[in-house]
Symmetry: C2
Subunit: 196 residues, 2 copies
Amino acid sequence: MQEIERLIQLLARLPGLGPRSARRAALELVKKRESLMRPLATALSEAADKVAPCSVCGNLDTTDPCRICTDETRDARTICVVEQVGDLWALERASGFTGRYHVLGGTLSALDGIGPEDLTIGQLLARVGPDRPTAEIILATNLTVDGQTTAHYITERLEGAGVKVTRLAHGVPVGGELDYLDDGTLSAALKARQAL
Amino acid sequence: MQEIERLIQLLARLPGLGPRSARRAALELVKKRESLMRPLATALSEAADKVAPCSVCGNLDTTDPCRICTDETRDARTICVVEQVGDLWALERASGFTGRYHVLGGTLSALDGIGPEDLTIGQLLARVGPDRPTAEIILATNLTVDGQTTAHYITERLEGAGVKVTRLAHGVPVGGELDYLDDGTLSAALKARQAL
């Protein structure tokens, strides 16, 4: 049973799986040995070998620079700054954004002792400058205290760099019902109201 | 990105993980490449190579017969019949049961077209008989319609085999509050009340 116990322990360390669901997952894997268990083992070791952060933007890819940074059809003048690779993926799935990205790797946090040197803010500033093509930085950090602190800090550091700094619009989610919205979102939506 | 997409698709097929949590899990795996991703790949392929169902009882193990079936300190005269390997694991974790097991591999189900020949009922009957040591069969199938039908069917097939057939006690869970219990459990607990 040692092999199964070890597998369950490792599965239980995945976010979203606890000890009980890890056991269920292990049983499912043994049942689907050829169709799921072996392919997953292969996919894991291949990804572990090949996938690495892009040295320009921090995206995860098998090439460096990544496919987005080397895609000539994408606008190198517009950089969207996100906290995590997952945010980049979400924007890619949804938005039709055709610029490039910069992954910070987190947010500034006094509580957790995370300062600017722990994030890729230096690399971001290096991508901006009179001799660089960047014209607009879109700040897409989360609307948390830390996310906003980080956006603020970056805005200050970019002052005088001759680059336009924007942030994502905040307001009522599409399909959202006012009754169920938190007060912060409602008041942000009211403040940012637009003429029809 | 192809390697990551494939990894996410495979992770999303695990019970308990949807597309969104599979993405989170993939990101976590890439972050913990050496401490989690590679060990998990190894554990998966090792388990895929070595773990197989026991030909006697259906338990999963790296030896055949499994460690429980070959453990001479366990009572071969008592067999606890469960639906799935997960049920066997739950009993092993909790119960201090010192007999052996038999995993049916599911339940009879008219709706799903699962008959006795799709389960290991034949193998169970082969473990019972005048020349075999089995003295008691404990039916530990679930208290669902299908589980009870299966228990009933096995009881009938065992008639005249000279073996005692019992089932798990049903009643109020330890630590359970009456107010939150379903009617079926409450009425079962009342029917099976015991003298103090």
